[in-house]
């Protein structure tokens, strides 16, 4: 479903010169699997996910998403992906329903399909009572639900979550975590990034330890713990990165 091949991304920085934000990153993730990118801030997680979702073009290397090359047909790749991040914003002056419909239209969905999917998902996430309120009036938990519906409305086979729980309270985080599990159970291919080790332990089938733009180690959580002889992911991470 997702296959990253030798992805590289360089940025030019005035002070530091050329920065290798992503440095020969390769991995793959199957349908029905949750793959975690684990690393500190600035490790290259967000850049990697932005390349996968075609917001950024790789300097070299490529990725195949559900059979389509991100460097060849970015439009097709975008329609295969649902994207959600912790600081995803909403249009305050639109209602939840309008916001979701806007993206449904952009994803080329028919009017009736948008309505049916919206009703289904609003029911599922218990959002009926604020579906027609303006987004600026919603609580952060409600906003997060609107974002979830937006990301999954077009029923994409691949879900990309970029630090989805950062900055959220316990309840909202819980909603997201449950949603990720549901995506996996529905057979979607899920990739998500986090710097919270406990979250990775709970959710991920496999994780990649990423630091300074490179993948240091990859495997199931158990195999990483075994190979480092540690009993929690945090210690394993430190050992692998070697700092």
């Amino acid at each position: 479903m997702i296959e990253a091949r030798e992805l590289c991304k360089n940025f030019k920085d005035k002070k530091r010169g050329v920065v290798k934000a992503v440095d020969h990153v390769s991995f793959s993730c199957k349908a029905g699997e949750v793959y975690g990118l684990l690393g500190p801030n600035g490790a290259g997680k967000t850049t990697t996910l932005r390349i996968l979702s075609t917001a950024l073009k790789p300097t070299s290397g490529t990725a195949i998403i559900n059979g389509t090359d991100v460097t060849v047909d970015s439009q097709k790749v975008r329609s295969q992906i649902g994207f959600l991040s912790g600081n995803t914003g909403l249009y305050g002056r639109l209602t939840a329903r309008e916001m979701v419909a806007y993206f449904g239209n952009l994803y080329g969905m028919e009017k009736q399909t948008i309505r049916r999917r919206t009703d289904e998902l609003f029911d599922l996430l218990d959002m009926k009572n604020f579906a027609d309120s303006r987004n600026e009036k919603l609580s952060s938990g409600m906003k997060q639900k609107v974002s979830i519906v937006r990301s999954v409305l077009h029923d994409p086979p691949v879900m990309v979550f970029d630090e989805p729980t950062s900055g959220l309270d316990v309840m909202s985080s819980r909603t997201i975590v449950d949603f990720i599990k549901r995506c996996r159970d529905m057979g979607k291919c899920v990739i998500f990034s986090t710097h919270i080790m406990s979250e990775a332990m709970r959710l991920c089938d496999r994780v990649a330890i990423i630091h300074n733009g490179r993948i240091y180690s990859e495997g199931t959580v158990d195999s990483l713990l075994q190979s480092t002889g540690q009993n929690n992911l945090e210690d394993a991470f430190i050992k692998i990165v070697g700092e």
């Binding site: 917001a55 992906i81 600081n87 995803t88 639109l94 806007y102 080329g108």
Partner: protein, 405 residues
């Protein structure tokens, strides 16, 4: 490039913009209400100041008043707009200093034997001192001059009559000036300078607020990333947003034009403005409105493309506002040319954006349209608008612009 996507984006952004109170305030309410209000205040203040100066009594001092001929003395003394004093009223003071210190407004120095000289028909001078930098003093001087020249005319007449020559000898011919300008042209040349400036300014204001919201606003709300991974091209986003900005810009311009016209009509009905009523009666026929629209649309297009490009570059609405405020000077100031007397449309002027729009609107209102320049300006404006839009699109495709956060 799909029209369906552009339409979707356009409709969403338009709805979003209409619901934005700040944009509505800046783009529509302010130009409609504030411009006429501002002009009204200026008009009223000026009228009031004018009336105050005209109606006020001028205090003058006549030195050596006994030497004035009786007739001239009487006409000065009986004139209620003068309050006449003599040097005796300022005993022990230096009159010239008193004048400088505004103790009175003008000083008339009558030479010795002035009355006699006139009687003897020998040339003589009379001196008036005043402060040209003081309006009241200048008014006193001009009133004094009027009284004196009238008196002089009477003397000339009496001297001619005394010699038994017909008065007609003094008037070989009269010059009669007749203006052939229509009221429309007259109004256009006077008020025609103000209207283009306000119109271009409101077009800019109308584009400014939505441009900031639709560009930098996406970054501020954290929605830009979601947009970039949605399956519409960057070009489609640019166009959808661009057309909303052009629309609000043109609408703002037209609404301010309507409000200015209504305001001038109202002012023309004011009895205090009687003499100016003819100048204020601006008539917009279909051709004028079409011509104005034809230049306003491309200039709105240029504003929209530049503002959107700057806005998407900015990290926040605040930063965008900073750029826009700076830009305001360069984009709107050239519109002032329509108020500069003597600046006429020519091929060079017709090529300069903003300047050409300003001058064409001015001419359109006056009804003096020169098509060769209008067409030159059209070509220049549309080419520039297309260029600006092309650059905006290329700009939107740059990662370092979109993800500059």
């Amino acid at each position: 490039m799909q029209f369906r996507n552009i339409g979707t984006i356009f409709r969403k952004e338009l709805k979003d913009t209409i619901r934005d109170r700040r944009t509505m305030l800046f783009a529509f309410l302010m130009p409609i209400i504030s411009m006429p209000l501002l002009m009204m205040v200026i008009f009223k203040v000026q009228m009031a100041a004018f009336q105050k100066i005209e109606g006020a009594r001028s205090e003058i001092v006549i030195q050596n008043v006994s030497q004035l001929p009786q007739e001239l003395r009487d006409s000065l003394m009986t004139d209620t707009t003068f309050q006449v004093k003599t040097e005796a009223d300022f005993a022990g003071k230096i009159l010239m200093d008193e004048l400088k210190q505004k103790a009175f407004q003008a000083l008339v120095i009558v030479p010795d034997n002035f009355a006699k000289a006139i009687e003897m028909e020998s040339p003589t001078d009379i001196e008036i001192y005043y402060d040209r930098a003081e309006e009241m003093s200048a008014v006193a001087y001009s009133k004094l001059r009027d009284v004196m020249s009238q008196y002089r005319d009477r003397i000339i007449k009496s001297r001619v009559v005394k010699r038994q020559i017909s008065e007609d000898v003094l008037k070989p011919f009269e010059v009669q000036g007749n203006s052939v300008a229509s009221a429309k042209k007259l109004a256009g040349k006077t008020l025609g300078g103000i209207i283009p400036y306000f119109l271009i300014l409101t077009c800019f204001l109308g584009a400014m607020s939505p441009a900031i919201d639709l560009g930098a606003g996406e970054k501020e709300r954290g929605t830009i990333e979601t947009l970039m991974v949605a399956p519409a091209t960057r070009g489609e986003f640019v166009l959808g947003k661009y057309f909303v900005i052009v629309l609000t810009s043109v609408m703002a311009g037209l609404m301010s034009l309507a409000s200015m016209t209504a305001f001038f009509k109202y002012m023309a009905g004011d009895p205090a403005m009687k003499q100016m009523a003819e100048l204020l009666a601006i008539q917009f026929d279909v051709q004028t409105v079409f011509l104005i629209l034809a230049v306003v649309i491309p200039i709105a297009g240029i504003f929209a493309a530049i503002l959107l490009s700057l806005s998407i570059f900015a990290k926040s609405a605040k930063e965008a506002q900073g750029y826009v405020g700076f830009l305001n000077i360069f984009l709107v100031l050239p519109a002032f040319v329509s108020m500069v007397p003597g600046v006429e449309l020519n091929y060079q002027m017709a090529l300069i954006p903003v300047v050409n729009v300003s001058l064409i609107i001015k001419n359109a209102i006056a009804g003096t349209i020169e098509w060769n320049y209008v067409i030159t300006a059209f070509v220049s404006l549309f080419a520039l608008a297309a260029l600006a839009l092309y650059f905006a699109k290329r700009w939107f495709e740059r990662e370092e612009v979109l993800f500059r956060m």
